[in-house]
């Protein structure tokens, strides 16, 4: 099954890259190269316009991680995890996952290396890492690109679903891999 999936995901991008221009050229008689260049023009400006919000957000997140504030906050909730029988080694992922994609991936890889990929910790960490995206990054980039300043409830919704996803991942793994 996985073989099939990995085959599909390897072929997906090249298939899209061939299909779109081919369809446009044959069925719609489009000047495909010129259209490509025309559309691509916006890419540079958009990527550059994301720099200020992204720098602002990454500075704050980087400071937060380096200061040891995260460990302090976690030590407060650790006893509750021990009480529920949840391996508290995965706890930092709950905070790292919405903040930094690269950081939480590195942390997950570290847990997998330390405890083994087929341990409960390794499985839970893999599931958490795979099941949600980096909320702060998505929010910063998407709203940054259109210069929307008031993001209303978007962050609350993102963080709420992160929390739900975090606990769902833990309980689903603990149930499935008992």
């Amino acid at each position: 099954m996985y073989e099939l999936f990995s085959k599909v995901s390897v072929w997906m991008i090249p298939a899209i890259i061939v299909f779109i221009p081919l369809y446009a050229a044959l069925r719609r008689k489009q000047p495909v190269y010129e259209t490509f260049v025309e559309g691509a023009k916006d890419g540079f400006g958009t990527a550059i316009s994301i720099i200020p919000p992204l720098v602002g957000m990454m500075v704050a997140i980087s400071m937060f991680r380096a200061s040891g504030a995260m460990e302090m906050m976690l030590s407060a909730v650790r006893p509750a995890f021990d009480y529920l029988g949840i391996p508290s080694e995965v706890l930092p992922l709950g905070i790292l996952r919405p903040l930094t994609g690269a950081g939480s991936l590195a942390f997950t890889a570290d847990l997998i290396q330390t405890y083994g990929p087929d341990s409960m910790i390794g499985r839970i960490a893999s599931t958490i890492q795979g099941s949600t995206d980096t909320t702060f990054y998505v929010l910063t980039v998407y709203f940054g690109a259109v210069a929307v300043r008031r993001t209303r409830y978007a962050l609350k919704v993102g963080l709420f679903s992160d929390i739900v996803g975090f606990f769902a991942a833990i309980f689903i793994c603990m149930y499935i891999f008992r």
Binding site: V59, A60, M63, T135, V138, G158, A168
Partner: protein, 220 residues
């Protein structure tokens, strides 16, 4: 809320670092963060330029409209405010499909393009529209069918069954996405009801209107 969280991160970091004698580290981390912000944006340039070019071809050829048409029931339900046949719908659907199939570097440009299309419909350019918030909610919880990166890592460390997390990941991402859609709906309805008696109305609802502290991590 973003303003408060940002301030919270910076203040708490400096205070905690002062206590731990890590002030140097935090200063260094601040500038490393700034640097990685620029690096990430620069990394986005090539991806943005490439996919926006591709997507323009797809849009002009009517492929995006076809995609949006094929998924119309879902679209109407998730994004009731977007006019039928608006180009934003095609970009939104391509963004969601790219997420679904784990095409990470294609998903971001399409999502940004969708935001730009949504911004054209926005009467108040400074403030997010409900449709933008829904798109954000779907992207932060991102349904992915196969978490390829993680399977590769598990394989690397000699897992007996690297793909065994597909099922649990799918279940967890499904729950997270359902929670995101539900919360988004709730906030959307709340923001659209006239401000007659908000307190009475929503006092018993499950999600609290959350002050700035709720996102900081205490709940985890």
């Amino acid at each position: 809320m973003v303003n408060w969280i940002w301030l919270f991160f910076i203040v708490i970091s400096v205070v905690v670092a002062a206590f731990n004698g890590k002030i140097d580290t935090v200063t260094q981390a601040a500038f490393e963060g700034a640097k990685s912000g620029v690096t990430v944006s620069f990394g986005l340039i090539s991806i943005m330029v490439f996919w926006l070019g591709m997507m323009r071809i797809a849009e002009d050829a009517g492929l995006l409209a076809k995609l949006a048409k094929a998924l119309r029931p879902i679209v109407r339900w998730l994004f009731p405010d977007i006019p039928k046949d608006h180009p934003a719908l095609g970009y939104i659907m391509s963004n969601l499909s790219a997420n679904l199939f784990g095409l990470g570097n294609a998903a971001t440009p399409m999502g940004i393009k969708a935001m730009q299309e949504l911004q054209k419909l926005n009467p108040d350019k400074d403030t997010a529209t409900p449709a933008m918030c829904t798109l954000l909610a779907l992207n932060t919880s991102s349904i992915t069918i196969v978490p390829t990166t993680l399977i590769a890592i598990r394989m690397n460390y000699g897992s007996a069954n690297p793909a065994e997390i597909i099922g649990t990941t799918l279940a967890a991402t499904f729950v997270a996405t359902a929670a995101a859609i539900a919360a988004d709906r709730w906030y959307r309805r709340r923001s659209q009801t006239p401000p007659s008696s908000p307190q009475l109305h929503h006092a018993t609802k499950p999600i609290t209107p959350a002050s700035h502290t709720s996102g900081g991590g205490e709940v985890v």
